[in-house]
């Protein structure tokens, strides 16, 4: 397996884990969904600052640079 294929397989696996976590959260309510987890992170000022900086960096990185 080439490095490229192995890397893509890992990315797909991580995406599937994310989908699985959200599905478990919706089905069982034993885990927080991604929205709830992000809301929890956004509550303290430090977490909110991290999310705000991350959002701004993401937009600038993807659309401007």
């Amino acid at each position: 397996m080439s490095d490229r294929l192995a890397t893509i397989v890992v990315w797909i696996a991580l995406a599937l884990v994310a989908v699985g976590l959200e599905a478990v959260a919706v089905a069982t309510h034993r885990l927080a969904g991604v929205g709830t987890a992000l809301s929890r992170l956004a509550r303290p000022p430090a977490g909110r600052l991290v999310l705000a900086l991350g959002w701004m960096w993401l937009g600038w990185h993807v659309f401007a640079r």
């Binding site: 080439s2 490095d3 490229r4 890397t7 893509i8 890992v10 990315w11 991580l14 884990v17 994310a18 976590l21 885990l31 927080a32 991604v34 709830t36 987890a37 992000l38 809301s39 929890r40 992170l41 956004a42 509550r43 000022p45 909110r48 600052l49 999310l51 705000a52 959002w55 701004m56 993401l58 937009g59 600038w60 990185h61 993807v62 659309f63 401007a64 640079r65």
Partner: protein, 152 residues
């Protein structure tokens, strides 16, 4: 960051309170529709730009400026609605572990190079954002994420 009391006091019970709630609700709906329209127009404009151009920088900077203005307004006026109860940190531990793993893998790929052999998330996003329509959709999704963050 949001230590001040809520912007709006609890409406009075009875007909006067109901009328006040309806006026507030209608104002929020109109403002939300206006913001969605402005965001859509900005996403359409951004869809016709390409990275490393002044147009792309202006479109992105306008969105970031609006986001910062909304955040500052939220800090000054306090939360718009009572906060909902959220589970503790443990409930989100799995997301933290997944995010940490993805971030570590992203950094490893970034420094491992070459990009074709070790594609990062940016590599995939750049491929997806190559067409104006997909770029506009991604920009709109990014704006929606920022709007959601401001509303928290």
């Amino acid at each position: 960051m949001r230590n001040r009391p809520a912007r709006f006091a609890a409406p009075r019970p009875g007909p006067a309170g109901a009328a006040r709630r309806e006026i507030d609700h209608n104002a929020r709906v109109r403002r939300r529709r206006g913001l969605v329209g402005l965001g859509g127009a900005l996403a359409v404009a951004a869809s016709y730009t390409t990275p490393f151009t002044t147009g792309a920088e202006i479109a992105t900077a306008v969105a970031i400026g609006a986001f910062l203005a909304a955040e500052l307004a939220a800090v000054r006026h306090g939360p718009r609605a009572p906060r909902q109860a959220l589970p503790g940190w443990r409930a989100g531990a799995a997301w933290g572990a997944l995010g940490g793993t993805a971030l570590a893998f992203e950094l490893w790929n970034y420094f491992a190079g070459p990009r074709a052999a070790h594609p990062t998330l940016s590599y995939f996003v750049s491929a997806v954002a190559g067409q104006p329509w997909s770029r506009g959709l991604l920009f709109a999704a990014w704006l929606a994420l920022g709007g959601w963050l401001v509303s928290r």
